[in-house]
C-alpha cells in the first residue's frame, strides 16, 4: 500500500511518524496532508530504511542535490565523494542523473550508499540505451521507456522525474509562441524530438495509467517533469509553460485518484516579479501538490554564479509556497559541477530554503536564528560555529580569532563598551 492510500485509510505509517517527529508536528496533520496530496514522503517499498523527508505544505522547505556522470566525465569516485558531501551538508534528497558509463551500477551504488531519498530521470537511461541499441534517441520505443522506469522502480528509486505533461497541444503552443530558448529540459527535449520525428504522441502521457500502475506497485513518488520550463527570463509564464502546467494539473488529479504520490516540477529562469504568480498558478492548477523548483534563477546573466541567482529565486518562491528546492551550482550553463561546485550549490539552496522558512514563520527556523544572535552577543564562537550553516567552514574561517575586547582603535576605555554596559550586554 502506498503512503497516500495508507493515509486515506486512516493509517499512520512509520514514515509519517518520522516526518512528524522531525518537523515537530502532530502526526495526524502529516497523515492528513499525505491523504490530501499536499504532502509527499518519497520512499520506495524496495528501498532500505533511511532518513525519510516529507515535502509539502506546512513543512520545512527541503533541498535536493543532483549528482551523476555524464558522457564527458564519468568519474564514479568523484560522484561518490559528491554523494558523501551532499549528505554531510544536510541535503534532504538527491537525484542521480547519470548518463555516462555504467548507469545501472551508479544508481545501485547511490541507492545503497545514500541515507536520504533518491530520485532519478528514467528517460535519460532509456534514451542513451536507445542510441546503443537502435542508433538514435528517436529510435527509442515506448517499451524502452517503460522498461527503464520499471527497472529503476524495482531497484528502489524513491521518486522519479517523468515528463508526462508534454503532449502535442503543448508543443503546438511552443511553436506558436516563438520562444528565445525553446526547450531546455533535457528529458523534455528528448521527448519533443522523439514525438516530432515519430509523429506520435508522448507515450508517458498517452499511457499514463500504465505509468501509474508501476509507480503504485513500488510507491514511487511521481515528480512530473517540467519539459517546457522556461530557459530564459524572457520565456517565463508564456503560453507553452502554462499549457504544460494545465496538463500537469490533470495528471496530478489522476495520480492522486489512483493513490500515487505526486509532486510537480517547476522552473527555471523566472524574473522575480513572476515568481509569486508562478507558484500560485501551480498550486491552483495542481490541487496544491508539492512544488519542486529548479532555482528559480532571477536573471540569465550570471553564469558562474547561478547558485546565487537561484538563491534569490528559491528564497522568494519558497516564501510564497514552493516546497522543494533543487539546487543549482555555479557550473550551471558552463559544465559538469566539481565537488566544490556541489558544495556551493547545496549551501546556497539551504540558505534560500531557510530564509523562506523564516519568512513563512517556521518556529524551528526562528529559534536557530535567535540562538545565533545570542551567540554573537555573547561572543561565543563555539556556538556560532555549531549554529552556522556550514560549521566546518566557519570553524576554519574563524581560525585563531579571539573575541575578547582588544580592538586597538580606541584603547582600554572603549565607548562601545560603555554602551554595552548600559544595555546590559558587556
Amino acid at each position: 500500500m502506498t503512503q497516500v492510500l495508507a493515509a486515506r485509510a486512516g493509517r499512520v505509517t512509520p514514515e509519517m511518524e518520522m516526518v512528524a517527529a522531525q518537523e515537530n508536528l502532530d502526526v495526524q496533520a502529516v497523515r492528513e496532508g499525505v491523504a490530501a496530496g499536499r504532502i509527499v514522503i518519497p520512499r520506495n517499498i524496495k528501498r532500505k530504511d533511511f532518513q525519510y523527508c516529507g515535502i509539502g505544505e506546512g513543512l520545512r522547505i527541503k533541498v535536493n542535490a543532483l549528482i551523476g556522470t555524464s558522457s564527458d566525465i564519468e568519474d564514479v569516485a568523484m560522484e561518490e565523494r559528491k554523494l558523501a558531501f551532499v549528505e554531510a551538508a544536510e541535503c534532504d534528497a538527491l537525484m542521480d542523473l547519470s548518463t555516462g558509463g555504467d548507469i545501472d551500477g551508479m544508481r545501485r551504488l547511490v541507492l545503497d550508499k545514500a541515507n536520504i531519498a533518491v530520485g532519478s530521470v528514467p528517460i535519460y537511461q532509456a534514451a542513451i540505451e536507445a542510441i546503443d541499441r537502435r542508433g538514435s534517441i528517436v529510435g527509442m520505443t515506448a517499451e524502452d521507456m517503460f522498461e527503464a522506469i520499471e527497472k529503476q522502480a524495482a531497484d528502489g528509486v524513491d521518486f522519479m522525474a517523468i515528463h508526462s505533461a508534454l503532449n502535442f497541444d503543448v508543443i503546438r503552443r511552443l511553436q506558436n509562441m516563438g520562444r528565445v530558448t525553446d526547450v531546455v529540459s533535457r528529458g523534455g527535449a528528448f521527448l519533443t524530438g522523439w514525438m516530432l520525428h515519430n509523429k506520435k504522441e508522448n507515450p508517458l502521457y498517452e499511457q499514463f495509467n500504465r505509468l501509474l500502475e508501476i509507480l503504485k506497485k513500488y510507491d514511487v513518488t511521481l515528480s512530473l517533469g517540467d519539459a517546457i520550463r522556461p530557459g530564459s527570463t524572457a520565456d517565463s509564464l508564456d503560453g507553452a509553460q502554462l499549457q504544460g502546467l494545465i496538463v500537469a494539473g490533470e495528471l496530478v488529479a489522476r495520480a492522486q485518484a489512483a493513490g500515487v504520490q505526486v509532486m510537480v516540477e517547476g522552473p527555471g529562469h523566472v524574473p522575480m516579479n513572476h515568481v509569486e504568480a508562478t507558484v500560485l498558478l501551480q498550486k491552483r492548477l495542481c490541487n496544491r501538490a508539492p512544488y519542486f523548483i529548479l532555482g528559480t534563477l532571477a536573471t540569465d546573466v550570471a553564469p558562474g554564479y547561478d547558485h546565487i541567482t537561484s538563491a534569490i529565486g528559491g528564497a522568494l518562491a519558497g516564501a510564497v509556497g514552493a516546497d522543494f528546492l533543487c539546487y543549482v551550482t555555479p557550473a550551471e550553463h558552463l559544465g559538469l559541477p566539481t565537488e566544490e561546485d556541489v558544495k556551493a550549490g547545496v549551501i546556497a539552496a539551504r540558505i534560500a530554503a531557510h530564509a523562506a522558512d523564516l519568512a513563512r514563520g517556521n518556529r524551528q527556523a526562528w529559534e536557530r536564528d535567535r540562538q545565533m544572535a545570542q551567540a554573537r552577543v555573547d561572543s561565543d564562537l563555539d556556538r556560532q560555529i555549531s549554529l552556522s550553516i556550514d560549521p566546518e567552514q566557519t570553524r576554519s574561517a574563524f581560525g585563531a580569532r579571539d573575541d575578547r575586547h582588544d580592538c586597538a582603535v580606541c584603547g582600554a576605555d572603549c565607548a562601545a563598551q560603555v554602551a554595552a554596559k548600559y544595555f546590559g550586554i558587556a
Partner: protein
C-alpha cells in the same frame, strides 16, 4: 552651488547630463529627480577625477563596496588592491571605512585611485584621533569631530555617512526594547557610548545645521546612517529602528531645504517577509530619498556565505524600491575580506541589483538577459562569456568544467539533446 540647488533652479549641470547619458534617459528626467530629492549625484566639487553616477528612483540600482584599514595586517597597499578588485568587478562606488592607521593618507590615496564616487564615515576617524590624543574616545570633543568632517569634505569625499538621527530619546527607546543585539553599528555604538558617558545629546543631531553647512559648501551628499540597524532578524522593525527612521525623515527635509543632497542608510538583518515593509516605511517617512541598504541579510546563520544571504535580501529590497546596495562579503561576521571575497561580494550585489532592475521593468535591463539567452541558444560561447556578469569567471569555469572545444557542455556531454529538438523545431541550435 550644489546639484540640488542647480536642479531646483532649472539648471541641468554637466553631472546631470553625464548621468542622463549613462542611464539613457532625458537630462530633464534627472534634473527633476535631483530637484525632488529622489535622485542624488554624489560628486564633491573637489573630487575632480570622479565620474558622476546617479542614485535613485527610475535609475539602475547601484552597488557599493567597502574597504578600509581595520587590523594590524591591513595597509594602504592591501586596501588599494581590494579597491582595484572591487572596481574590476564592477562596483559603482567605494566606501573607505578605515578605523586606524594613517586614515588621512588612506583616504587621499583612495580619492586618487577611485574613478567612482567615494564615501567615508568620519566618526571612525574622530574616534581614532580622540583615542590617540586622550587615550579614550570617550573624551572626543565636538570641535574635533567637526574638524574631521570638514577635513574629509575638503579632501573631496563624495558622500559622508553620519549618524545624525541617533538621538538620546532613541537610545532610551532602544533600552526599553530589550533587543537581543542592541549594538551592531560600529560608529553607532561608539557614538552612543560617548552620549551616555558624557550625558550629552548626539552632536551630529544637535548641530545638524553645521553638518549641512559643510555638506553644502562642498556638495557632499549626506548619507544618514542608522545607529539602530537591526543586527539579527528578531530585532528587525522594532520601535527603536522605526523611531530613528521618523527622525531621519525630519533630517531629510531639513537637508533638502538647505540645498544638501541626502540619502538614508538602512539595514541590516531583515527577514524576507519584512523587507517590503521596511522599504515602504523608509520611502514614506523620508519622502522618497534614496535608500542605501546594507545587504540586507535574510538569515543570521549564513556565516561564511553572507554574500549569498545578502544577495537575496538586496534583490528583494531593490525590487521594492531601495536604490543603492552596500555589498556584504563572505567574511562578514567572521573577519575581514580578502581581495577575492571583495570581488565575489561585488558580483553578488550586482546580481541582486540587476535581478531587481529586471523585476521592476527598468527600461533596457531585460535586454542584457535577452542577448545572453540568445547567445546561449546559438551556442555562441565567446558571446555568452563576454555578456556574463563576470566574464573572467565564466571563462575559467567553462575551461575547467567542460572540454571547451565541444559545442555543448559537459553537463549533457554528447547528449546535448537540444540539438535533437532544434532540428525538429526548425531552428539551428538550441542549448540550455
Amino acid at each position: 552651488m550644489t546639484q540640488l540647488s542647480k536642479a531646483v533652479k532649472g539648471i541641468i549641470s554637466p553631472e546631470m547630463a553625464q548621468v542622463a547619458k549613462s542611464e539613457r534617459v532625458a537630462p530633464e528626467f534627472i534634473r527633476q529627480g535631483v530637484a525632488a530629492g529622489t535622485i542624488v549625484i554624489p560628486h564633491n566639487i573637489r573630487h575632480r577625477n570622479g565620474a558622476s553616477i546617479g542614485i535613485g528612483s527610475g535609475l539602475r540600482t547601484k552597488v557599493s563596496a567597502s574597504v578600509g584599514v581595520y587590523a594590524d595586517t591591513d595597509s594602504i597597499d592591501t586596501e588599494v588592491a581590494k579597491i582595484k578588485a572591487a572596481l574590476e568587478a564592477g562596483t559603482d562606488s567605494i566606501m573607505d571605512l578605515s578605523v586606524k592607521g594613517d586614515i588621512d593618507a588612506m583616504r587621499r590615496e583612495n580619492l586618487a585611485a577611485a574613478s567612482t564616487p567615494l564615501g567615508t564615515l568620519p566618526y571612525y576617524q574622530a574616534v581614532s584621533e580622540a583615542a590617540q590624543k586622550y587615550g579614550t574616545a570617550l573624551k572626543m570633543d565636538v570641535e574635533a569631530l567637526f574638524d574631521v568632517i570638514e577635513r574629509q569634505a575638503a579632501d573631496g569625499v563624495d558622500f559622508l555617512a553620519l549618524h545624525c538621527g541617533t538621538t538620546m530619546s532613541i537610545v532610551e527607546r532602544l533600552k526599553k526594547e530589550n533587543r537581543l543585539d542592541p549594538l551592531v553599528s560600529y560608529g553607532g555604538s561608539h557614538l552612543i557610548g560617548w552620549m551616555l558617558h558624557n550625558h550629552r545629546e548626539n552632536p551630529l543631531y544637535e548641530y545638524y545645521d553645521r553638518v549641512l553647512e559643510i555638506a553644502r559648501r562642498y556638495d557632499v551628499t549626506l548619507s544618514i546612517a542608522d545607529g539602530m540597524r537591526p543586527g539579527c532578524l528578531a530585532d528587525s522593525l522594532d520601535g527603536a529602528q522605526v523611531q530613528e527612521l521618523v527622525v531621519m525623515g525630519e533630517l531629510v527635509r531639513r537637508a533638502r531645504e538647505a540645498g544638501v543632497q541626502v540619502m538614508v542608510k538602512g539595514p541590516g538583518h531583515v527577514p524576507l517577509n519584512q523587507l517590503k515593509a521596511t522599504i515602504v516605511l523608509q520611502k514614506s517617512l523620508c519622502k522618497g530619498a534614496p535608500y542605501f541598504v546594507f545587504g540586507p541579510v535574510v538569515t543570521d546563520i549564513a556565516a561564511g556565505y553572507d554574500h549569498i544571504s545578502a544577495a537575496i535580501g538586496g534583490a528583494v529590497s531593490a525590487w521594492a524600491g531601495a536604490e543603492f546596495i552596500c555589498y556584504v562579503t563572505a567574511s562578514e561576521h567572521i573577519g575581514l575580506p580578502d581581495a577575492d571575497q571583495v570581488r565575489e561580494g561585488v558580483v553578488a550585489a550586482r546580481i541582486a541589483a540587476h535581478a531587481a532592475d529586471v523585476a521592476k521593468g527598468l527600461r533596457g535591463a531585460a535586454d542584457w538577459d535577452f542577448e545572453l539567452s540568445k547567445a546561449r541558444k546559438d551556442l555562441d560561447w565567446p558571446k555568452q562569456i563576454a555578456l556574463s556578469i563576470d566574464p573572467k569567471r565564466a571563462e575559467y569555469m567553462r575551461k575547467t568544467r567542460s572540454d571547451d572545444t565541444v559545442t555543448g557542455c559537459a553537463m549533457c556531454g554528447k547528449y546535448c539533446a537540444m540539438e535533437v529538438v532544434s532540428r525538429y523545431l526548425g531552428v539551428s541550435k538550441v542549448s540550455c
